[in-house]
Each structure stands twice: as C-alpha cells, then as structure tokens.
C-alpha cells in the first residue's frame, strides 16, 4: 500500500511536534524514521496509525484520505515501544484478541481463530509458550508476541515504535535480521521508528532523518551516510569530526585539501571571511610521520579490533580529532600516546556556521 503524508502539522498545546511534513512510502518498502528524541518521529508514526490526528495536512492510504478513519479501521499493525501486551491474557489470547473483537457476522469461527493464532505463533517461534502470561516472558519473546498480535489482523501496514529499544544487543541483532526476513516474506509495507542510526542503516530500504519536527533528508542508507544533505544529518549519522574553520570567499583550506563551502538550502555563502565548520569522517583522515601535513599530537589510542581509533590534538582546533586507521597502517606508524604526527584529510565538506545545527541537537548524536 502506498502511504502518503501531505503537509502534516501536529501541535500539542504550545509545542509543535511536526511542521508541514511530506513523505511517501512505496508498497513493500521498509522505511526507518530516524532522529533524536523530540524530533517528532514517534508522533509521525502515530499520525500515520491514526492514534494521533494532524492539525493540518492529510494522510493518504493508496490515494484515499485516511483522516476520517479511526485507528481500528485503518488496518495498521502497530507494535508499541513497550509492547503494550494485555497482561491478564495468555500469549494465545493476546494474539487472538484482534480476531475476537471483529463483529459477529464477519468473525472467524473459533477453530479458524485457533488455527490462525497457532500459525502466527509458530511464525514468531513461540508456539510452545502459548499458555504463558506476558510477565513470564523475556523481552525478546514479548516483542515477538506484540508482533504476532499486530500481524493477526492482516495489516496493510506494519508500524513499529522503537521495536528493539528495550532489548539487549545480541537479541536486538537477531530480531533485526528476523524482522527483515519477515517483512520480505510477507510482502508488508513497514515503517519503524528508531534513534539508533546503526539500526536504521542496516535494516531499512530508505531512511528518513528527522530533526525538530521536520525531515532533514530522505534517502537510501548509502545516500544519507555518504552524502548527508545537512550538517545535522552529518552529525547524527555516524562518527564525524566537526572542525571549526574560516571560510574565505567560499573556500576552505584544511589539512592539505581545498574544499568549497556549501549550503543545504541554497542560500548563498557570505562573501569574504566567515566562520564555518568542516565535517571530516574519521576514515577520511590520514596520519603521517611527523614533518608531513599539519602537525598533531597523539592523545589516545584504541587499537582493539580490525581498525585502530586514534585521537589526536591539532594546534588551533579545540576538540580532539578522531582518525580511523587500518590495523596495518597503525602498526607501520607505531603510534604511541604523546607522539608527534602529521595529519591530512582525504575528503571533507564545509558548511557556514550559520547553517550548523545548534550544539544541543549535535550532542544528541553520541
């Protein structure tokens, strides 16, 4: 099903959660809404589900306005962040709930309900736990019950709010793969909310990066990672060094390369000398023996794993700069804390300071 969000604005009392959002989701897509807390991603999901109603704008399902349709009539499967299981019902009854509340003339027979619930439970690999109560299950199992319950009504869309937020790292990884398979096998259209960029980049077909009630960028994981549209996306997605610099007539010379400054919204770069920020990914930084490149001093080394993370201080730059080297290169240089080295950049992008997100928005990215 095609889901279209058109100019949606949502206000809570004095707080504007969504500011005129536009988004289109194609059938069969798995889309991630990614952003820091308070960016409006959950609100957007709830507006699509019909749990919240937009003050302005429309939500269209297959081109038809869904605004007048109540959440129960939209055929959305909603998986809540804390699962919202019915604690006084067994796993079986939880999953059967959506089938049992159907008006009598359209309701399945009891034996059909039983068959369907059992097949869903075996799909989520919980068939042996059907008599348990939710409090007797682990977090990952509860998550799967919530999913089976949402799937029972044969939803046209599956909406998941922070589906893996409350799970430990190992379970999270397993469930992620499993969800991806499930989505593909059932031919669902799914949207999930997350604040975990790794999760969004690994799982989704397309990532919607949100900030302060607006969409910063929509694209495939590669697109948003490799060519972030805005400074915010740069800071939110993946590790990045933010280096304060001076822009001179639209150009910056940084650590051996010349970079042209750009703005994401087309506003012209101020003439002459202005403040700006250069964004450099750690893997785009090269460390060299002392004497070549800009002088720097090694401050911290974390060399476990396939790549070595080196933090260096560069004269005139306040934050420590993180560089990522291959293990081989790290051993070649024989880096130690306190050692003098040279630093060079392979690639960087520069935005004027006026276009950078506030420090608060940036700090959430950690």
């Amino acid at each position: 099903m095609v889901i279209e969000v058109r100019n949606v604005t949502k206000k809570f009392d004095t707080f504007t959660a969504l500011r005129g959002l536009n988004l289109q989701v194609q059938p069969g897509e798995l889309v991630a809404l990614l952003g820091p807390s308070g960016s409006g991603k959950t609100t957007l999901l709830r507006v699509i589900a019909g749990l919240e109603f937009a003050n302005e704008g429309q939500v269209l399902f297959d081109g038809k306005d869904a605004g007048s349709r109540h959440v129960g009539e939209r055929r959305v499967g909603f998986v809540f962040q804390h699962y919202a299981l019915f604690r006084h019902m067994t796993v079986f009854e939880n999953v059967a709930f959506g089938l049992r509340v159907v008006p009598r003339q359209r309701r399945m027979s009891d034996s059909d309900i039983k068959k369907r619930v059992l097949s869903l439970l075996s799909l989520v690999q919980l068939d042996r736990l059907s008599d348990r109560y939710p409090t007797q299950l682990s977090g990952g199992q509860r998550q799967r019950v919530a999913l089976a319950r949402a799937l029972a009504i044969e939803p046209l869309v599956l909406l998941l709010d922070e589906p893996f937020g409350a799970l430990d790292a190992k379970v999270r990884k397993e469930l992620r793969r499993w969800l991806r398979r499930l989505h593909d096998d059932m031919g669902l259209t799914s949207i999930f909310v997350t604040h975990d960029q790794e999760e969004a980049l690994e799982l989704a077909d397309r990532v919607v990066v949100m900030n302060q009630g607006a969409i910063e960028q929509v694209g495939t994981p590669e697109e948003v990672y490799d060519t972030p549209a805005t400074p915010f996306v740069y800071e939110f997605l993946g590790n990045v060094n933010r280096v304060p610099c001076r822009i001179n007539n639209g150009k910056v010379s940084l650590w051996g390369i010349d970079v042209a400054a750009e703005t994401h919204d087309g506003t012209p770069i101020p003439e002459g000398d202005t403040a700006g920020f250069a964004y450099v990914r750690p893997h785009d930084i090269e460390l060299t023996p002392v004497g070549q490149g800009e002088p720097a001093v090694v401050r911290h080394v974390a060399a476990a794993g396939p790549t070595a993370r080196i933090e260096v201080s560069v004269q005139g730059v306040v934050p420590l700069i993180e560089a990522q080297l291959s293990r081989k290169r790290y051993l070649e240089l024989g880096l130690k804390v306190g050692q003098q080295v040279g630093i060079a950049a392979r690639a960087a992008r520069v935005f004027p300071a006026s276009a950078s997100p506030s420090p608060m928005a940036g700090s959430v990215s950690g």
Binding site: H70, V76, F80, A84, F86, H88, F97, G98, T135
Partner: protein, 288 residues
C-alpha cells in the same frame, strides 16, 4: 577484653533468607507485639467471654430468631451496599481519572467526606433527608417507597459510608493504567466498549474487589449512621451491632460476647473468601 562474635547466620533459622535490609528482628518483633495488643487480645477476650456461656447456651443465643434476623440484615445490607459501591465507585473513579472538568478537585475531596464525617451526623442527616417530611422522603414516600426506618434505609446509610473505599482503591490503579494498552486494543479493531470490557475492567478488577471487601467489612460493623435511619425494629430493621448494645444495656455481657463472636467468625470466613478471590484475580493478572 574478650570479644564474642555470634554469627547471625547460625542463630537464625533457615526459614529466613538473607537480606541486606536491616532491622528485621526489631520491626518484626514490634509488628507481632503491636498486632497482639491491638487486635488479637481484644478478640481473644471476646471469645473467652463468650465461652463462659457453655456450648448449648451459646448456640441458643446465637441462633435466636432475633439474632438470625439481625445477621441477615447486617450481612445482607452490607453486601448490597458494597455491591452498589463497586459499580458506582468504579464509575466515580473513572470520571475522576479520565476527564477534566471544573471543580474536579472539589468533587475529588467530596469523596472522602464519608470518612471524615462523624457517622452519627451522617445518620441524622440521612434520616432527616429520607423521613416522611424530608426533601427526598417527601417525594418518594407517596410513590410507595418507604426509605427511612426500613432495611432500605440501612442500605442507603451503608452505601454512603462505603463509597470512598472503592473509589480510593480503584483510582490509583486506573491512573497507572498504561494508555498504550488501550491504544493497542483500538489498533486491533476493538471499540470503546470492548476495550473497557476486555482490557480495562480485568485490570482494575482486583482493586475493585479490594475496595468491595473494605466497604463490606466497614458496613458490617457500622453503627452510628445506621441506627438513626434504621428504625431499629426487632426482627425487621435491627442490625447486629445494635443487638449487641441492647444486650449490654441489659447487662447480658455473655450474650453480647456470644453474638460478637458469631459475627467475628462470619466476618472472618467472608473476608477469607474475598481474599482468595483477590488472589485468584491477581494471579490472572500475571502475578502483578
């Protein structure tokens, strides 16, 4: 100086699991002494007093027709009143938790009034209201409803004093009810009634049953508010506490104690049943 170290692990029984919380001995000891003094001792005295009668006489006193009628009224009216309160108490709690309206705090405070009001005052007020010339009595009596000085009046008084119990036990549970659970039910296609019937009601049922038990227990023992409105006709509108008072006034201390003991036994059994009911409903909530 010799140092004697006694190991608590060896002196204490194995039934006590180790805990980091201090003060178990002190608080447990205090609790036992306190409960013995305040609850157990008077009850024991009551039983001992009643046992002075001898079995045959005891049975005769507690099964006298007048006593039986009084039990029927006391327990019956208390049960009806608690049943009324469980329905309307849940309703009041619902309104107080779910809706915003002017003077909500005032209404909320009003619920506690039956707690605070001296019961005799409540009884006199109700009796005046429902008597033949009272505001309400004047309206309903011509229609054939005689409230004051009938068993029906007893029920009214017991409803009045029992109301806060259900409201105050259900209210916090309703407040803590996860909004997401209701949304989940709605997203699965349940309408408001189905959500209430299948999701909300089972969640608040244990609390409502607790409130019922409290209101019921309070109503059985209620004296002050009832005697003014009951009329106190033997065999008709005489409650057990009043019967006990009458026996005391006639210096029939053993008879009073016997009826008291019978009342105690009945109350104990009833509360036990209610407690089991609660445990059952709580277990259904998954040990919550």
């Amino acid at each position: 100086m010799a140092v004697v170290v006694s190991s608590p692990a060896t002196t204490r029984g194995t039934w006590m699991t180790h805990t980091v919380l201090p003060g178990f001995g002190l608080t447990m000891g205090f609790t036992l002494v306190y409960l013995s003094l305040i609850v157990l001792l008077p009850l024991a005295a009551l039983v001992i007093r009643a046992s002075g009668l001898g079995w045959d006489q005891f049975v005769e006193v507690v099964t006298a027709p007048r006593a039986l009628a009084a039990y029927r009224l006391s327990f019956g009216a208390a049960f009806i009143a608690a049943s009324v309160n469980i329905v309307f108490g849940v309703l009041v709690a619902w309104v107080l938790v779910r809706y915003r309206f002017p003077f909500k705090r005032l209404v909320d405070g009003l619920v506690d009034l039956p707690f605070a009001l001296p019961t005799a005052v409540a009884g006199i007020a109700l009796a005046t209201l429902f008597s033949k010339n009272g505001w309400i009595g004047r309206l309903v009596e011509p229609l054939g409803f005689k409230v004051a000085f009938t068993p029906f009046g007893v029920v009214i008084a017991l409803v009045f004093i029992g109301l806060p119990f259900v409201v105050r036990t259900v209210q916090p549970v309703l407040q803590d009810l996860d909004k997401e659970v209701e949304e989940a039910a709605a997203s699965l296609g349940a309408d408001r009634f189905q959500t209430f019937r299948h999701i909300i009601l089972p969640s608040i049922l244990p609390a409502a049953v607790t409130g019922f038990a409290l209101a019921f227990a309070r109503a059985i023992g209620e004296y002050g508010s009832v005697i003014f409105i009951a009329g106190n006709l033997p065999m008709k509108s005489e409650i057990v506490p009043l019967l006990i008072i009458i026996k005391l006034e006639q210096f029939d201390y053993r008879g009073a104690a016997a009826i008291g003991a019978a009342m105690l036994a009945a109350s104990f059994v009833l509360l036990l049943v209610i407690n089991l009911l609660q445990r059952w409903s709580r277990r259904r909530m998954g040990g919550a």
